[in-house]
């Protein structure tokens, strides 16, 4: 009889119980995803395989534990390249840097999707194969388990003495009384019973296989949740300066990653106005300057007629609107300036977003002034902003010899705006979208101060006149901006449900022990009742002996062992 066709019942009835341990341990070791199969068998049949046979062989291979193991390894190995190679979804800037540094190598690597491993065809094929392999053995196991759940525990083997745990004694009690007591004791221990005339078969721990199946099925739930997420998720960023606002429509996003099936015209209709941003930083000690809290005070609304509602957004405490959440992921400064052109007209007024360059918020940015009076050259400024500029005793700015002017603390203790300027054509009319954080200076000329570049350091309220009467720039003040991430992930409820199910399943499949116990009580030739108890652990895990012993001890009350020489009852 091949192992595949042997049923539990055959095995248990088989007198040669020596062999039970091997096949059972294999099919039942708890974590196995594949049904036990005889690989040697396959090899012999190979030469006569037709197309169907080959397909069947392939399917057998795919659903075998060995292949599942190899796929698991491949999956973890395939996940390692992102540690060394920058990934587009995580750090697009580093990817472009890599392309600049190693153009040839990068092109080849890009062909293999090494810059986006987790959506690459080869990563996908590994996990899809793994899931097919999983399905291939979970489905038959579900059937088998459903059958087992409805079946009765297999009847007692003829020879108890060969079971892994065994006890035998003689008693004067009536066999039926002993069996009745055994039934009660086994029921109390939550065994499922199959009583026959002179014996009881009992089994428990079915939850182990149930849990194991639940765990593996839950993995499919996670896969579906991931798929839903990639199809329907909305993720986008928006920088808002204090006083500014955001409405959830496509055009408002600075950058966005929408799932393939997102209906961009029907985003959650909400918006908010950023009233102020509050930040605190560590003031003393080795970690001076490290952020301690960020709070954005906002007024939000929902729907076109919605009323304003005040609230806050903090790190770890997003704003929740329907299925959408708004997170604050960064803050920075936006110096406010007024630029007048040569004719004295205000050509630019307002805050400009600067990007922080270090922990103390030394920030850089550019101010573009395209709307000058007719006939004048456009203006542009390259600027650096220091929230806390270091000063010497005479009130002069201290400049770091290597890095130039840098801030010494991230909050606005002594703000300074360092500027240099350009005039000419900003190149903004060409229709090509421009980077708002960089100045395209190829058609512009730098303002000079004699032989040197024209530079000014402004305090709040200071005005600097531009060279050659080109106008002036006034540093009016500083506003804080916050970078918000708007996100909704439709699959996350399913994902959470699935992982909870997976953990429950995992705990059951690892901690529940499957046991069989048999009790037999028959009248021996000398009139004594012979009681036999046998136990079989169907899963790894200690304590079979203790468990059977404990049961035997419980049974002693109803079936006290005869001391040597006890008289046979009449």
């Amino acid at each position: 009889m091949s192992l595949e066709t042997r049923t539990d019942e055959d095995l248990a009835r088989d007198d040669d119980l020596d062999r039970i341990a091997v096949p059972e341990a294999r099919a039942d070791a708890g974590m196995s995803t594949a049904p036990a199969q005889d690989e040697g068998d396959e090899e012999i049949r190979q030469p006569q395989l037709g197309v169907v046979g080959w397909l069947r062989w392939l399917w057998r291979q795919l659903t075998s534990m060995r292949v599942a193991l190899i796929l698991l390894f491949l999956l973890s190995v395939a996940a390692t390249p992102p540690t060394l190679i920058p990934q587009r979804p995580v750090s697009p800037i580093k990817v472009s840097q890599y392309f600049r540094d190693h153009p040839d190598r990068a092109k080849i690597m890009d062909k293999f999707q090494l810059f986006d491993v987790f959506s690459s065809w080869w990563f996908a094929s590994i996990y899809i194969l793994l899931f097919v392999s999983l399905a291939g053995c979970i489905v038959p196991r579900c059937w088998a388990h459903a059958k087992t759940l409805r079946a009765k525990p297999p009847e007692a083997p003829r020879n108890f003495a060969r079971l892994p745990a065994y006890a035998r004694w003689e008693t004067s009690a009536d066999p039926d009384a002993v069996l009745a007591a055994a039934r009660g004791a086994l029921k109390k221990r939550r065994f499922r019973l199959n009583p026959t005339a002179d014996s009881i078969a009992a089994e428990k721990g079915y939850a182990r296989e149930s849990g194991n199946l639940l765990f593996h099925i839950a993995l499919f739930g996670i896969l579906v949740a991931f798929a839903l997420g990639s199809l329907y998720s909305v993720k986008g960023g928006k920088i808002v300066v204090e006083g500014g606002s955001f409405a959830n429509v496509l055009t408002q996003y600075d950058d966005r990653q929408f799932g393939a099936l997102v209906d961009a015209d029907n985003l959650e209709p909400f918006g908010f106005r950023l009233k102020s941003v509050e930040q605190t930083f560590q003031a003393t000690g080795a970690k001076r300057g490290e952020p301690r809290s960020f709070t954005a005070h906002i007024e939000s609304w929902y729907g076109h007629e919605g009323k304003d509602k005040s609230g806050t957004i903090r790190v770890n405490h997003p704003l929740e609107v329907g299925d959408t959440k708004v997170f604050m992921i960064a803050t920075g400064y936006a110096p406010e300036v007024t630029v007048r052109d040569a004719k004295g007209k205000i050509a630019y007024k307002g805050p400009t977003i600067f990007l922080p360059q270090d922990g103390n918020r030394t920030s850089t940015g550019v101010i573009k002034v395209p709307d000058v009076s007719a006939g004048l050259k456009q203006l542009g400024f390259d600027a650096q902003f220091l929230p806390s500029a270091p000063m010497d005793q005479n009130g002069n700015l201290l400049v770091d010899p290597k890095r130039g002017p840098i801030s010494v603390f991230p909050s606005l203790l002594n703000p300074r705006l360092m500027i240099s300027g350009y005039e000419g054509d900003l190149g903004m009319d060409s229709g090509i979208p421009q980077n708002i954080y960089a100045l395209k200076a190829d058609k512009m000329s730098k303002f000079m101060d004699g032989a040197d570049v024209w530079r000014r350091a402004l305090k709040v309220g200071d005005t600097a006149d531009l060279p050659n009467g080109a106008g002036s720039i006034t540093f009016d003040g500083v506003k804080t901006w916050a970078n918000f991430q708007v996100a909704s992930e439709p699959g996350k409820g399913l994902a959470l449900f699935s992982v909870v199910a997976a953990i429950v399943g995992l705990v059951l499949s690892l901690f529940v022990r499957r046991r069989r116990m048999w009790v037999r009580a028959v009248e021996g030739p000398d009139g004594h009742t012979v009681v036999e108890v046998g136990g079989l652990a169907r899963t790894e895990g200690g304590g079979l002996g203790d468990e059977v012993q404990e049961f035997v001890d419980a049974l002693r009350e109803a079936a006290p062992a005869n001391s040597p020489g006890t008289k046979v009852k009449e």
Binding site: I20, A21, R26, T33, M65, L69, L72, S76, A79, T83, Q87, P89, V90, F118, R162, L163, P164, A165, Y166, A167, R168, W169, E170, F226, S233, K235, Q282, G285, A286, K287, P291, R292, V315, N316, H317, P318, K325, Q485, A487, A495, V499, V500, I503, L506, V507, L510, V533, G535, L536, A537, E540, G542, L544, G545, Q549, V552, D553, R556, A561, N562
Partner: protein, 352 residues
């Protein structure tokens, strides 16, 4: 919220005391191994093998019909490596070694108390969970390694593990106080969440316990080599450490210890990753974004899953499964030291 400097200082003093006591425990374990003799164990395991190999004798010998209390007889398949004769005995019947071994365990327990005090006062000094940076994480993990060992020792006779537990504990603490040390401070806002308690705590306990699993796997490989040498009749010269390896529990028992620890902790490690995902969803708006830390947690998880499967697969049991478990543990190590120090990602806010 400020920092209670006195308490923070006191925490450091306790840490150095704990290291000193662990060091003494380490030397005591070494002495136990040195002074212990292997004779007693060898004799006992010989007895054991006879009993296991002759089940018929055991069945017949269990002529329990005459006993007042019927005794359950175990045959092969009923044993699970917990048998009194297969517990490993470092002292090997040598009384002096046994006494030293007991002293070593007491020292370990004392070190644990000092160590726990250090972690606790560190937390109180800043009124937050004491695992906000690598120094704090390392010291907490080391504490969990010792706790896992002491908890095992409470239930099972695993004194043979002592020497091998104090080694990584001392290494981890040494690296923590010399390389990773940072003064007690408040946290960056990103870490200011109750998920810090849940997510990081479960990661710490998992990491600590996986240490024990890995140690058992390493010892399994050595012991298996020893058993193969013993079984090889053509071999006349014993291996260099054979007299020491003889005092470990059998390879089957070591394998079971490794499996049990890893299997118990695997759901907790899963839970730690899930908590991280929930926290990430709360903090960054996505529950899984393939950040380096997430990638390596995933790799570690898959590797441990592979171990659990390997151990249930014919042809992979034993040596191969142990190797997989060590690969999985190395992934965890890299996920901690490698990713935190060499790879930039969202998890690298805490500083070294």
């Amino acid at each position: 919220m400020g920092v209670n400097e006195n308490l923070a200082q006191f925490s450091n003093v306790l840490m150095y005391s704990a290291i000193a006591v662990y060091l003494m425990a380490f030397f005591a374990y070494c002495m136990e191994w040195t002074f212990g003799s292997s004779g007693a164990v060898a004799k006992r395991s010989a007895d054991l093998s006879i009993e296991v190999l002759e089940p018929a004798a055991a069945g017949a010998g269990g002529g329990v019909a005459l006993a007042e209390r019927p005794v359950v007889v175990l045959r092969e398949g009923g044993h699970d490596g917990d048998d009194a004769d297969d517990r490993g005995d470092v002292a090997g019947g040598n009384d002096r070694a046994d006494r030293i071994g007991r002293v070593a365990v007491s020292l370990t327990a004392l070190g644990f108390l000092l160590h726990a005090g250090s972690v606790l006062t560190r937390g109180i000094s800043v009124e937050r969970a004491p695992w906000g940076n690598m120094y704090e994480f390392s010291t907490s993990v080391a504490l969990m390694v010792v706790l896992a060992f002491l908890a095992l020792l409470w239930k099972y006779p695993v004194r043979w593990l002592g020497l091998f537990v104090t080694l990584p504990v001392l290494t981890t603490l040494g690296v923590a106080v010399t390389v990773l040390y940072t003064d007690s401070e408040q946290l960056v806002p990103a870490l200011d969440s109750y998920w810090l308690w849940i997510h990081v705590a479960s990661a710490i306990v998992s990491f600590g316990a996986f240490h024990i699993g890995a140690l058992a796997s390493i010892l399994f490989l050595f012991r298996q080599g020893y058993e193969r040498r013993q079984a090889d009749p053509t071999r006349t010269k014993p291996g260099r450490f054979d007299d020491k390896l003889a005092r470990l529990p059998s390879s089957a028992s070591l394998d079971k210890t490794a499996y049990r620890v890893n299997a118990i902790i695997f759901p907790l490690w899963t839970f730690a990753i899930v908590c991280g995902a929930i926290w990430a969803e709360n903090a960054w708006g996505r529950y899984w974004g393939w950040d380096p830390k997430e990638v390596w947690s995933f790799i570690t998880w898959v590797a441990y899953a592979a171990y659990l499967h390997a151990r249930a697969t014919a042809g992979w049991k034993g040596t191969k499964a142990a190797a997989v478990s060590l690969v999985a543990f190395s992934c965890f190590l890299f996920n901690y030291y490698g990713v935190n120090i060499f790879v930039n990602g969202l998890h690298s806010y805490a500083g070294v």
